[in-house]
């Protein structure tokens, strides 16, 4: 067996061990969906970081910085600052008023069936896009890393799908949490070691390092990679950057798989502590993307990376150059662990939303179902989600450009989910019609704008390979890659107009007082289960 394969198998064995342990802990709905609400602050903080830092961050951001310099670092900044929205505005009210899903907060005041149905559609959309991006990435990565071991793209995708379903079906939220914790610790160790090796290469002199970054050989030219504008160029680059910033800052607090993590802790104070832990870890990680990305640009070089696996392989190739085959295997298995932890989080978020929002509340009108039945529905959903994700990832194939899917997930979260979460917490007049209208305009608006954006539309010359061609061969109708600057206001306007067109909802206004007291004091919030 090759070294990478041994490390992969080791990680899989460890996570399956965690899953077996978790499956023997107490059962029941609260245990399955929210780990009994007994996760501690630091544990949840690390798990949030593990849930959040996807392959798009580890491989994608390092790659963008390696190829386009400073503009890639703008993503890093946004990914951390976004947590201030989570910390200051969303996490504590959510924990105090909800039970298992994002839709709980909306259903608190509003008519539960319509808002849960639409919120579940939005949750499933965000989770599916995000998951497909990760699965395609995982398939490509594993096939590339284990070249010669006989594992193909399809085999790798299937394996990832089976593992994520196994964690969720057998171990529920508890297993998912610990897989995310193990992954976050591994990712931080790997990133830290790689950063140290990069600095060692420059004799631990930051001056020498940044000196090299400002003189990167890019083809025949020497380019200063610290200069903004290598990716986002005029005339629309500036607007695109602002639009991206909006989607990151408002989207993170609307990502269902992140939000449900705050139900796993005993109270709002612990939720707050866990956000701060997550911010410490996430911030440290994204600062280190400086060394990963610029390191790959200066030490390995764009030309070599492009020939040996492409932009997403920047970090693993840097590891290979600096630490040899063993370190390459280590970094590669961390990338694999990263993907597994994120898809597990997405799977449980989709399953919880279907079982709790759709099955229990939309189909059964919120009549109490036996907890065993709801958990069973969630497990079946996890199977379906896994099968669908495997099928789509195989149909799209390894060369499909997945980068825009992650952007799309953030755009939908920011445009559909966040406006209605904010308005239901802060606006007394808000009505069911407003929530449904806001969710729908935000969701449809961001999807439609992506379809007509340069990510999907464009005219390729005959030299462009078939797999890299734009899906629609026509000039883009919308000039920005990131739709947030238009779709986020659309979500808010939809919610506002829908509310003002509907009659004043006395029930919603009366419950607003209750929500306000509960959100701000924790009175009546869901308690942790006894051990």
């Amino acid at each position: 067996m090759s070294t990478p394969l041994i490390m992969f198998v080791g990680f899989i064995a460890l996570t399956l061990g965690i899953t077996m342990w978790a499956s023997r802990q107490s059962s029941g709905a609260s245990a399955f969906f929210a780990a009994g609400r007994r996760i501690t602050g630091w544990q949840n903080g690390i798990a949030v970081a593990g849930d959040y830092m996807s392959a798009a961050s580890f491989l994608g951001i390092a790659g963008i910085i390696a190829f386009q310099g400073y503009d890639g670092f703008m993503y890093s900044v946004g990914f951390l600052v976004a947590y201030l929205t989570v910390l200051l505005i969303v996490a504590e009210p959510l924990r105090n008023t909800g039970k298992y899903t994002m839709a709980d907060v909306l259903a608190y005041r509003l008519s539960p069936r319509p808002v849960r149905a639409v919120a579940a559609i939005s949750t499933l959309t965000v989770s599916t896009f995000y998951m497909i991006a990760q699965m395609v990435g995982a398939g490509t990565l594993v096939a590339l890393l284990l070249k010669g071991s006989g594992i193909t793209y399809n085999g790798a995708v299937t394996m990832v799908g089976i593992l994520m379903v196994a964690y969720v079906v057998f171990g529920g939220m508890l297993a998912t949490t610990w897989v995310q914790i193990v992954k976050a610790v591994l990712l931080m160790c790997g990133t830290f070691l790689l950063s140290i090796l990069v600095l060692a290469h420059f004799h631990f002199s930051l001056r020498e390092f940044f000196g090299a970054v400002s003189h990167v050989q890019d083809g025949a030219k020497v380019v200063n990679f610290l200069t903004p504008g290598l990716r986002y160029k005029p005339p629309y680059g500036a607007l695109d950057l602002i639009s991206l910033g909006l989607a990151l800052i408002l989207g993170t607090a609307g990502l269902p798989h992140i939000l449900i993590r705050f139900y796993t802790v005993p109270d709002a104070k612990t939720a707050r502590v866990s956000v701060v832990w997550a911010m410490g870890i996430i911030g440290t990680f994204y600062i280190m993307t400086t060394f990963l990305g610029f390191g790959a640009a200066t030490i390995v070089g764009k030309a070599y990376i492009a020939k040996n696996g492409g932009v997403n392989m920047s970090a693993p190739l840097l590891a290979k150059y600096l630490g040899g085959d063993i370190f390459f295997a280590f970094i590669s298995s961390i990338a694999f662990a990263t993907i597994l932890a994120v898809v597990a989080g997405l799977t449980i978020s989709a399953s919880t939303s279907f079982a709790h929002d759709v099955y229990e509340n939309v189909i059964h009108h919120g009549r109490k179902q036996s907890p065993g039945k709801t958990v069973l529905v969630a497990r079946v959903t996890a199977f379906v989600v896994g099968a669908v994700a495997i099928a789509i990832a195989i149909v799209l194939g390894p060369t499909f450009n997945v980068a825009f899917l992650v952007g799309l997930a953030f755009a939908v979260a920011a445009s559909a989910n966040l406006p209605v979460i904010l308005l239901s917490i802060f606006w007394k007049r808000f009505t069911t019609e407003g929530a449904v209208c806001g969710l729908a305009t935000g969701l449809v608006g961001s999807l439609a704008l992506i379809v007509v954006s340069p990510s999907i539309m464009g005219i390729d010359g005959p030299a462009v390979a078939v797999s890299a061609r734009h899906l629609i061969q026509a000039a883009p109708l919308f000039p920005l890659e990131n739709p947030g600057i238009v779709s986020i206001p659309l979500g808010f306007i939809g919610a506002f107009v829908g509310t003002m067109m509907s009659r004043v909802d006395d029930h919603s206004e009366a419950k607003f007082t209750e929500l306000e007291v509960r959100a701000n004091t924790g009175l009546g919030s869901e308690q942790a289960t006894a051990h």
Binding site: Y70, I89, R207, L226, L241, I242, I249, K269, M279, G522
Partner: protein
């Protein structure tokens, strides 16, 4: 706790709490921190893409060796986020004790 007298809308324990001065003080204290903190971080954050996009020459200016304003400003965002988080943690501990005191008074009131 003084429930207001003849208001027909005050029927539940939630309404009774919402009408206390202690709760109004809590909400005011939270708003006094959260509103300016949110405005501050949003302005500070969006200053980065706006300046990078619309004042590229300023942002390209090198200040420490090869390090330009764009990179240093981006790096400062991380410390800004951590600082705001730390300040919020301190303020939130105060909110927690205000809420706890209020709920204790409320529970004593409900018990009688």
């Amino acid at each position: 706790m003084q429930p207001e007298k003849s208001d027909p809308l005050i029927v539940t324990k939630w309404d009774r709490i919402a009408h206390t001065d202690a709760f109004k003080d809590l909400m005011a204290a939270k708003a006094r921190f959260i509103v300016p903190a949110t405005l501050f971080f949003i302005v500070y954050y969006f200053a980065l893409p706006v300046l990078v996009g619309y004042a590229p020459d300023l942002m390209r200016r090198e200040v420490i060796g090869p390090l330009n304003i764009a990179y240093l400003f981006a790096l400062s965002q991380f410390f800004m986020a951590w600082l705001v988080a730390a300040l919020y943690m301190r303020a939130a501990n105060r909110f927690d004790s205000m809420a706890k005191k209020m709920l204790d008074v409320h529970q004593a009131g409900e018990g009688k």
